[in-house]
Amino acid sequence: MNLRTTLLAGAAMVAMTSAVSAETLRWGAARDINSLDPYSYGSTFTISFLNHVYEGLVRYNADLTIEPALATSWETMPGNIWRFHLREGVKFHDGADFTADDVVASLTRVSDESSPLRGNLPAYKSATKVDDHTVDIAVDGTYPLLLNDLTNIHMFDAGWLKANGAEMPTDVAKKVEGYATFHTNGTGPFSLESRVPDSKTVLVVNPNWWDTPKHNLDRIEFTPIASAATRTAALLAGEIDFTEAAPIQDLPRLEGAPGVKVLASSELRTLMFGFNERPKLADGRNNPFADKRVREAVAAGIDLDAIHKKVMRGQSRIAGTVVAPAIPGYSEDLDTPTPYDPDAAAKTIKDAGAEGFAFTLVCANDAYVNEEGVCNAMVSMMTRIGLKPTLDIGPNAIQQVKQSSGEADMFDLGWANEPMLDSYSILLQVFKTKSDNAGVFNWGGWSYPEIDKLLDASAVEMDRDARLKMENEALRLVKENVIMIPIHQQPMAWGLSDKVDSVLQLSDNKARHWMTTMKAAN
């Protein structure tokens, strides 16, 4: 052995030790998580953050398809029962074993009458332990989307819940705080070290994680930085390594800065505009939007390209249908935007007797990316084809009341199909006829019996291909009837410092740091 190989071996040794040395990811987020309890109010962001600590029975893999997590396999049984076989040898952070009792306790907690997350598990009826590692979940009728729902239902330890009096979810109306709001005990790749709300939440690696880690992190320091300008500054100054919300207006600056990378793409959320389709408007006038020709004319009068280039600075993805390509039910042949033809649109408006029709477009300014700019552009484009729109804009909390009450003649809506990741979500909640458990976002009061029929059939269709075909057919009807005009998929942009080697960015815009690697610190 000569000197040279010794040196090389030495270098390799150094490289190996630094690969396992402490890597801290400093994450500057646009907002804080609401609570440490995954069964608190249905915030997609909070649940995705807590997914580092807690896990569900199944999870999405790098292709956004469902794969086993805490359950290794499952099968459907007669009587609308799903049997799940649980992974053996999984331990909670406090050392307790993961068993069927934990699944039963978690599902009981999340489906409780007072649970804010109950809506995420709509078909659930009951869970029964078969043996220590087998659980039967009974659902209400034939229900094909149970696995999708379960990706977001994190598993608690039954003993821990019981010992701390947290078997029931926290009920704000009862004015009592919950133990799980302040403490965690999951099975996930990271465990909680400390949390100061609005200031800092620290996660450390769980050395006993059941899965082989694909990350090399030891620690995640999560800091909310609500102000966009400050977040950009913190990334430029090297005070954070990662943000899931790099402000769109700062992207050129960030891309040009040394030591900063930007990962930009389009996410699942599709922005669209809808109309009041009732025969009369809220103020009693006849409603031209009930006429399909007028809606078609509006669609032809929108210059999607201009919105994409001018308002969204080329960062959005122009949409021809109301769901993003990654959402099951999507098909490429539907994704064709209406060609821009303002002159024909103006003529149609005239023929339909809607020329000079004055109405209100109700938008928020804080719900979607560059929402104000898009709505302003809509107003000027619709004015051009002979309509008289007025823009009513304000905070989402106020505007959504007007939109949902039928007061708005026209409105905007963004839909990501979260947490279900299936077209069924938008079809059920937006396009189905309004009833007690459907059409909550059917703000225009429309009713298309054909869509309803397709949806009812797809809701009990266990064959995935047949089900998606029905959903796709329903989406075709949505497009043909111009119920809503899709504009674009929103841009998402992550900012990284050059210390970060790779992150996994999927179109659901959730950070999965158990896939993140950082460059070895020297």
């Binding site: 500057g28 249905g42 109950r118 809506g119 704000v172 609005d198």
Partner: protein, 323 residues
């Protein structure tokens, strides 16, 4: 004196009741918390049940009375957003805001007073005139612009101060302080400058005006005639006569600074009460908004009452005139 005190305290209680009533009138226009508490899959039935269980279907008067009834017992309820007790949320943030406000106040005095004296005694000189000019900018620039400019210069370009947060804090009982750690002190620098800037110019202009007044008075001329050294006349005799209004204004303005801190806290992600309030507004977190408004008005009322009582102690005429 006792009658005076009782009257003042009664007034204070009335002010707080009116503030709470106004707050509840406003809450009708801030939007619907239910829309933000549920996700896309929630059914209408579940939304209605949640609304009913939170008592949001009751009339404003009923909601207001229930709030006052609970607040009197110190129960402000649970935050819709965090599911934490509102009192503990505010108690957690109170030290952060107070520390920022106190440091900004001290800064405004330490910088503002000497500047005021200098601009007064060197009136007409180029540097005092330019200080005067710069101070106009300090008054007129909005506080968030100052904050962002400070971040750009000192964090991004020079890299000498952190852009956000509070650094490491030390817990002393229920109070937390960043003053005892290096990172905590570094984190205080930019936010406190940004918050103090307006106050500095205010103090400087007040001291200058008072000084110009005092410098014309007979005792200053007499001291000068006796050959007392110039710096002693200025800083010891004249300045002392200017400080009364400065101290009063500073004490009264602590309340204003707490309110102003809202913007500074948002820019610097300073985990204080203002940031809590801003987030409560975007989430329509009514329990937190109501409690914040009551507590801030309570601080205003306490400061005003304290100043009134102090005046009454100093000046007996006020006691007889009002009491």
């Amino acid at each position: 004196m006792t009658v005076f005190l009782i009257k003042r305290l009664f007034n204070a209680a009335m002010v707080m009741l009116v503030v709470a009533a106004l707050a509840f009138m406003i809450f009708r226009f801030v939007g619907d918390p239910i829309q933000l508490m549920v996700n896309e899959q929630t059914t209408q039935g579940e939304k209605d049940a949640l609304r009913a269980s939170l008592g949001l279907n009751d009339s404003v008067v009923v909601q207001y009375l229930r709030f006052v009834g609970n607040a009197v017992r110190g129960d402000f309820g649970i935050s819709y957003r965090n599911q934490q007790s509102v009192m503990s949320l505010i108690a957690e943030r109170f030290p952060a805001t107070m520390e920022l406000v106190i440091v900004a106040t001290i800064l405004s005095l330490v910088v503002g007073i000497p500047l005021g004296v200098i601009t007064a005694i060197h009136r007409g000189r180029w540097f005092s005139e330019s200080l005067q000019f710069v101070s106009i900018i300090g008054v007129s620039l909005p506080s968030f612009v100052i904050g962002i400019v400070l971040i750009l210069v000192f964090s991004v370009e020079l890299g000498i101060a952190p852009a956000f947060g509070r650094g490491e804090v030390v817990r002393i009982g229920w109070w937390t302080t960043g003053l005892l750690t290096p990172s905590g002190r570094a984190a205080l620098v930019l936010p406190s400058i940004s918050l103090a800037l307006y106050q500095i110019t205010l103090v400087m202009r007040l001291v200058r005006a008072e000084m110009l007044e005092v410098l014309r008075s007979d005792f200053v001329k007499f001291a000068r005639a006796r050959g007392v050294p110039r710096w002693r006349v200025h800083y010891s005799h004249a300045l002392r006569n200017c400080l009364m209004p400065v101290v009063t204004m500073t004490a009264m303005n602590v309340g204003a600074l707490i309110a102003f801190a809202l913007i500074t806290e948002t820019v610097f992600q300073w985990p204080g009460m203002g940031l809590l309030f801003i987030q409560a507004v975007t989430f329509v977190d009514i329990p937190v908004m109501a409690a914040y408004l009551c507590i801030v008005s309570f601080i205003f009322v306490v400061l005003n009452t304290a100043v009134d009582i102090a005046y009454a102690l100093i000046d007996p005429r006020l006691r007889t005139a009002r009491g």
